[in-house]
Subunit: 124 residues, 2 copies
DNA sequence: CTGTTACTTAAGTGAATGGTTGAGCGTTCC
DNA sequence: GGAACGCTCAACCATTCACTTAAGTAACAG
């Protein structure tokens, strides 16, 4: 199994840029060509094209050449994968009540209250 | 509201690194000190410390100095914010049925029930 | 006080990124 | 056919990144 980690690397990296998020925003309202995607931005077409390539490499966007234009679309499955990764971690954390422990401490209580749960199986 | 984008920048950037995701993974099972977080990795403590700083700047992790150690915890609110951003886009996209339109055009809307994802270029 | 622990900071390095310009290629229109 | 269009590719540059080593600071043990 080749790391799903690399896919997450690429996906999060793709999302870590306001321009690319803007492109995703646009695509969440419907497909578009590269030059349509470039319109709102002052950057060159080549730059936007590179952004689209990053998004496509991450799997978040799927493109298809149609004649001389390239149609770009969101891949909701890929977005869902990323979302799920976050959801798992957040739920894990919320299921613990270490945060309650922090509240107690800030109100002065006993020292450490870390219930060590070494069920470290979590390779997702 | 203006800085929401910068916050997302930092959050996604923080998530775009396997080591930092590993740290988050670890923290999703409970708080830890910097050197505890560093143990699973071959990188130097300074490197892990820098990762923690990135995570803290992103808001995904909260830290607190305790004597000579620093306790690190996940901020589930921040994770939730990121998750919500993705959720909005995905739902928007899923609510459209442009993809169905595309399927119809490509002539794959009936007959074979195979996954219409020939463009995904070997994900998994 | 001395030494160890645990973190912090600083400076530097090699690689990757985001951006540019400019040329090249296939497609569509006249 | 030729021109315009839309994208693609290549080279280059400035900045950022992840990481290192090395030195510095603060809390605790003896």
């Amino acid at each position: 199994m080749v790391e799903r980690s690399e896919q997450l690397d690429r996906a999060f990296h793709a999302l870590a840029d306001a321009t690319r998020r803007g492109i995703l925003d646009r695509l969440s309202r419907g497909p578009a060509s590269v030059s349509e995607l470039a319109k709102p931005y002052s950057a060159s077409l080549a730059a936007i094209h590179q952004h689209v390539q990053v998004l496509e490499a991450s799997g978040l966007v799927v493109t298809e050449k149609r004649g001389r234009t390239r149609e770009c679309r969101i891949s909701s499955e890929a977005v869902l994968r990323v979302e799920s990764w976050l959801n798992e971690r957040r739920q894990l954390w919320e299921s613990r009540f270490d945060r309650l422990g922090e509240l107690i401490e800030s109100g002065e209580f006993m020292g450490e209250a870390g219930p060590p749960d070494p069920t470290a199986g979590g390779d997702h």
